[in-house]
Amino acid sequence: SSPVPSRLFGEIRSPGYPKPYPNNNISTWDIRVPKGYVVKLTFRYFDLEPSESCFYDYVKIKADKKNLGRYCGQLGSTTGNHPGRKEFVSKGNRMHLAFHSDFSNDDNGTVIPYRGFLAYYQAVDLDECDPNNAAEEDERPQCQHFCHNYVGGYFCSCRTGYQLQSDHHSCKVECSSELYTEASGYLSSPEYPQPYPEDLQCNYSIRLPKGLSIVLSFLEPFEIDDHQQVYCPYDQLKIQARGRTIGEFCGKKSPDSIETNSNEVDILFLTDESGFSRGWKIHYTSEKIKCPQPVPRDQFTIIRDLQPVYEFQDYFIASCKTGYKLMEGNQTLLSFTAVCQADGTWHQSMPHCEIVNCGNPADLTNGAFSYTNKPADNTYQSVITYRCNEPYYHIVTGAGGDRFTCSPEGTWMDGNGQVKIPACLPVCGKPVNPVISVQR
């Protein structure tokens, strides 16, 4: 009895082969190939004394605790059981050969020199993933999801959302840090629409660029374990935006669409140790975050090209009606633009418009001015008239005359749009009390 060293191939010879084998011989061989392989044996040459049921001389082959046959005889003999070109394949990585010869090999007094056998064996890769190849029931690969064979071995893998455990065979749902960064997409509970596993602590995070608002739409079916009296005591689907919970759901009625107004949303799915609900599926989309519709603060403010909706990065320009000026607090603005920010607010608050004030009109040397309409009114469209201290001075105006109006630009202008005020020039040769001769 000799163990055959673990090799990928080899040959087994009957004792003394190719010389006739001795009588009264029992020889055994334990063929072993490396794990991950099976033994394939074929007889290159087989010449044993034939007998009924191979009673006298035989080769017995055994593998996987099963007999693979008992063989004797010669090629073409009517008695015996010649193996021919048969391939003997084990299920495991071992095969046992036993050779037995009785006390003689004569036939009607003639000694026939039976030569014995020459067998070749080789190691053949075992496809561990094929369940039919398992030597025993408990030796079948235990890959929970996927089995991948390779020469000399195999490995397991898991479905999407599952993680191979340390035993390299079992798969567990991995949903604790799922990240979504596309503008839209779908997410669902594990195995959806099949019932979700127990003991889940799933966290789905949607992270989009600033300025986008995530909208969640629930698809059918929607099924999460619930309770009649107590709200979501078993399993919960929580929606969080910017760390703040905006919804917690369970039951069979799918929630309405949720506009989160946030570019960051976390969906937590917690399940207990039991349940048979089909779970949920969410279609998320994104849209630019919206800003409040700009509303003028007074009747003099104009918003140019008012849009029905303002979104992130949109802007509006505000101006005033003629004769009014833009103000922010006490400060005059030359122009105003507000941009819709990523957080849905305007980067500047709406200004207001105040009527233009030209200030006090310039004093006229040796003259004065008077208000045509309302006294001391220096606002837009107010009118003043300059005059000189007559009869000592006379007024000299530009082509625009002596009436000045408070213009939209905040300056007093004459009829021709000129700002230069008139001048009072001396009147010569007109004494108030000229010399008069009475007596002639």
């Binding site: 040796n366 201290n389 000592y392 001075y393 020039l425 001396p426 009147v427 010569c428 040769g429 007109k430 004494p431 108030v432 009390n433 000229p434 010399v435 001769s437």
Partner: protein
């Protein structure tokens, strides 16, 4: 002013009283110019080099706005910024008053009113003011009855034809090489004791332009032989309009 009358307030609102080298007169032009005679600023026989015009401007006193010398002084003087003497005036030529015209620029414009008003300048096309017999009025603070007057006086005098002026002058000058140029005219009477005199120099001879209704300065009291002994001689303003306007407008 000899043989004249006291002026009422506002009769001659352009009348200025000057004190530069003694008493003189002047007339307000616009609201910041005084028309006067050059010789009251640089008297004959006193060259410009002795005292500069800047210093003269500093020292000059000009009064406006009243008929009383005392009241004028109380009202305060009007400082002079600059003095402009006509280039034809030659202080060395004792008997030649050609170019006897000057302008004083006041530092600050005056505020016009019933007692302070400017005189007008004549229209270049109008020479009738100088025709023989055309009446004008002269006012001044000059000598009256041997004393400087404390109040403004005025007298009405006719302009005289050039020939008469020349003829009279020739009869009076003797050896004195006194000049009667075309830039002068004479006015007054040969026998009536009405004339201008010392202290009136620089005051203006004015006529009423009936067309415009304005009083116009046609002459500046310049020189004479004695006072009220014949005609008085005046700088002919009409001939100096370009010079006046050139200075006044440029400023």
């Amino acid at each position: 002013i000899l043989g004249g009358k006291s002026a009422g307030r506002g009769n001659f609102p352009w009348q200025a009283l000057t004190t530069i080298h003694g008493r003189g007169g002047g007339a307000l032009l616009g609201d910041r110019w005084i028309l006067t005679a050059a010789h009251i600023i640089i008297p004959k026989g006193q060259g410009e080099n002795e005292v500069g015009l800047d210093q003269l401007a500093e020292d000059a006193n000009v009064f406006l706005g009243h008929t009383s010398v005392e009241e004028l002084h109380k009202m305060g003087n009007h400082p002079v910024r600059r003095i402009f003497i006509h280039p034809d005036y030659n202080p060395e030529d004792e008997y030649n008053f050609n170019g006897d015209i000057a302008l004083l620029e006041l530092k600050y414009p005056v505020t016009l009113g019933p007692t302070v008003l400017p005189i007008c300048l004549p229209d270049t096309s109008n020479t009738t003011f100088y025709e023989d017999g055309h009446i004008g009025y002269v006012s001044g603070f000059g000598v009256e009855k041997n004393f400087l007057s404390n109040d403004l006086k005025y007298v009405s005098l006719p302009a005289v034809a050039r020939e008469k002026c020349q003829s009279w002058l020739d009869s009076k000058r003797g050896d004195i090489p006194i000049v009667f140029s075309e830039n002068m005219f004479c006015a007054g009477f040969l026998t009536v004791k009405q004339d201008t005199c010392q202290g009136d120099s620089g005051s203006v001879f004015t006529v009423l332009d009936t067309q415009s209704g304005r009083w116009v300065a046609t002459g500046i009291v310049s020189w004479g032989i004695g006072c009220a002994e014949g005609y008085g001689f005046y700088t002919k303003v009409l001939n100096y309009l370009d010079w006046i306007k050139g200075i006044v407008r440029e400023d």
